[in-house]
């Protein structure tokens, strides 16, 4: 077993077990703590997949931002130090059955579907020094570099030619997303502001 395989099983075990713990735990604060491990494990999976920029963004935005937001939400809405809202045993059973069924359906689909993939691509693991990942991402955002793949589209129906791919830049969607985030944050600040109740002295 090489290092990559061992790392995958360690990270996948950490991520999956903490994801299950998020669901099973009744206490919301412990749930948030397990969510921290899940998000960190997913960031590790991204690093393992060679997506270093996405992994760093995951750490910064999810673990640094969203999780802190969630913990603040827990603190602002808790009346006691340990808020537990019990779920009844019947709901547990139904959730377990539905979850197992859903998981088996997705597993069957994922295992049986003929995914197009390059066989050789999984072997030439790039080292950290030669990884041009962030450079490629930036060039794709600006559209200054040819990002259309050299190889043919795998898994395409026989006898048909795949459509010509035009060179695309992701700068406009990126700008739209950033403006969207700004609008949403202003809206969230407006929604969550402290309101004075009607009739109360100012």
């Amino acid at each position: 077993m090489d290092v990559q395989t061992a790392l995958f099983w360690i990270l996948a075990g950490l991520t999956g077990l903490s994801a299950i713990a998020v669901v099973v735990t009744q206490n919301i604060v412990r749930s948030a703590a397990w969510l921290l491990f899940t998000l960190g494990g997913v960031a590790g999976i991204y690093f393992l997949l060679g997506a270093d920029f996405v992994g760093a963004t995951q750490l910064i935005v999810y673990v640094g931002g969203i999780l802190v937001l969630v913990v603040f939400g827990v603190m602002l809405t808790a009346q006691g130090p340990f808020v537990t809202m019990k779920t009844s045993a019947a709901e547990w059973a139904i959730s377990l059955v539905v979850g197992l069924l859903l998981f088996s359906v997705i597993t069957l689909a994922a295992v049986n579907a003929p995914w197009p993939q390059d066989a050789h691509h999984s072997e030439d693991m790039e080292s950290a020094e030669t990884s041009q990942n962030s450079v490629k991402l930036g060039a794709a955002f600006l559209g200054i570099k040819e990002i259309t793949p050299k190889k043919d589209l795998t898994g395409f129906p026989m006898g048909k030619t795949p459509p010509e791919r035009k060179q695309v830049a992701y700068l406009l969607p990126f700008e739209i997303v950033s403006v969207h985030l700004l609008v949403v944050l202003i809206g969230a600040a407006y929604l969550a502001r402290a309101k004075r109740r009607r009739g109360m002295p100012t």
């Binding site: 997913v42 197009p116 390059d118 944050l185």
Partner: protein, 105 residues
């Protein structure tokens, strides 16, 4: 001996995260727990995006870019959802989603 780690292992991890998130959304009575379920679902989808970017050179860049977009969208969604939860708490003095039944027909 462990089976070889390929695309399908990552897809199964994404499926596990997705199912955990869906069950979490359906089962938790705390509104913030429901929000955590949404985050798990988005992470499961993101794992699939990045795995396809790694194992299929056609989507080498696109998978990662879409994953970045999903992360930004998740940040926006978490902010607005927490604002709604805070408003709900101000009105009902609890975050139990079972008490939100005023619109029930």
């Amino acid at each position: 001996m462990m089976p070889e780690v390929g695309l399908q292992s990552y897809l199964l991890l994404g499926a596990l995260l997705f199912v955990c998130g869906a069950v979490c959304m359906a089962m938790k009575r705390n509104a913030i727990g429901v929000l955590m379920g949404v985050e798990l679902v988005l992470n499961g989808a993101n794992v699939n995006f990045v795995a396809f970017a790694r194992f299929n050179s056609t989507f080498e860049i696109e998978g990662q870019i879409f994953a970045l977009f999903v992360i930004v969208m998740a940040a926006a969604e978490a902010a607005i959802a927490l604002a709604i939860v805070l408003n709900f708490y101000n009105n009902h003095m609890t975050v139990d989603v079972d008490t939100a039944e005023e619109l029930k027909g």
